[in-house]
Each structure stands twice: as structure tokens, then as C-alpha cells.
């Protein structure tokens, strides 16, 4: 890459806005988790760095046996290839996982999930330029 190209890239990375997409609705019976990821994947190519946060009932999505398609909505698995392709960061609130008794070995590894404590949530959310709750 030319020096100008490198400079342009550096400039672009500095300018990138960090946007957190926080989803709190259950994966079964609602479209919001897939809709959140559809929005996230649409951000790539813009000067935006999207990150996903699952909280409240939305954490049910990470259970490897979670199958919303049984309720007639799109499967969550359609998001996995893009999570891998774009290396999308996905976080979930640890206490919410515990509330629904989801153990670490029950989490589908394709989420590449990182856990966050509820006590760190305020600071985490404030570290983004924009936060959109679904």
C-alpha cells in the first residue's frame, strides 16, 4: 500500500464511529435479534464500527438449542457466517445468562461471545458514540 493509502486508512480508522446495537427482546416470537444483526452487517462499508450487546431475554439466543424457527421466524444461524466474516464483536450480560441458567458449555461457539458484568454496563455503553436499543 502506498504511503498515501496508509495515511488515508489511518485517517478513516480515527474517524470511525463506534455504535453499539443493544437488543433486549426474546429471540422466539420476535424478529429483533436478526434485525439487529442485519443492521450491524449493513454498517460495514460505512465509517462505523458496530458491536452487538445481548441483554435481558435476548441472551436466550446464545443457547445452542435456541431455535426460533420452531415459532416460524428466521433462524439465528443465518447470522453466523457474517459474524465470522466481519469478526463482529458480540457481548452478553453475564447476570442475564445466569438468570436463565445458561451455562458456558451451552453457548453456541459461533457467537464468539464475550461476557460483560452488569456493574460494568454503564461505562461500557458510554464508551460508544451512539447506542441503539432494539
Amino acid at each position: 500500500m502506498s504511503p498515501i493509502g496508509i495515511l488515508t486508512l489511518c485517517h478513516r480508522e480515527e474517524d470511525m464511529k463506534k455504535v453499539l446495537f443493544a437488543v433486549y427482546t426474546s429471540p422466539a416470537g420476535s424478529i429483533w435479534i436478526n434485525e439487529t444483526f442485519r443492521c450491524i452487517f449493513g454498517m460495514y462499508g460505512q465509517d462505523i464500527e458496530p458491536v452487538a450487546l445481548l441483554l435481558n431475554e435476548a441472551v436466550l439466543a446464545v443457547h445452542k438449542n435456541c431455535k426460533p424457527e420452531q415459532c416460524g421466524v428466521l433462524p439465528l444461524s443465518i447470522t453466523f457466517k457474517y459474524i465470522e466474516k466481519y469478526q463482529t464483536k458480540v457481548y452478553a450480560v453475564k447476570e442475564d445468562l445466569e438468570k436463565y441458567n445458561i451455562k458456558e458449555d451451552e453457548i453456541d461457539p459461533r457467537w464468539n461471545l464475550q461476557l460483560i458484568l452488569k456493574s460494568d454496563l454503564a461505562e461500557f455503553v458510554h464508551s460508544f458514540d451512539n447506542v441503539i436499543f432494539f
Binding site: 433486549y24 435481558n56 454496563l121 458510554h126 451512539n130 447506542v131
Partner: protein
Amino acid sequence: MALIIVKKSPDHKISHLLLEIAMPQDKVVFIQDGVLFAVDKNVKDLVKEGVELYALKEDFVARGFDEKESLVNLVTYEEFAEIIENEPKIIS
């Protein structure tokens, strides 16, 4: 500093979470059914000290309340737009 917009009523968990994550010097604006927080006697105890609370006047009076009933400052659409313009971060 951030602007936090609360749209859902106090019956929704997510509204309470948004208030919990508000940090001192943040501005919280209640809109839509979120304005029902403006008549909650405990509303100021739901946020940390130093968090500024506002409710959208139009949404408040549209739900049958008198302006005097609000326990937080009411802002017009124009004032709300100014708040949005002046806040670097938005959480909604």
C-alpha cells in the same frame, strides 16, 4: 456526557436499565410513553445524582396531564432538538 432517550413506560425493564446506566452530567429525556416517569414520585431516586431529567412537553400533555403535574423539567420539540444537537453521544 450522553443524551439518554427513554421511550417506553416505567412498566418496561429496559426503561429502568436506561436510567440505571445514566452517569452524572448525562441528560435523560423522556418521550412517548416514557413521559409517564415524569409523574413517578420516585423518579429522581432512579438515577444517580447529577443526572438531568427532562420530559417532552407535547408527549406529556398529549396523555392528559397538566404541565404542572410534571416532576421533571418539560422541554418543547425545539428544545429537544437543541439538546440532541449539543450532545456528542446518544443512547436510545
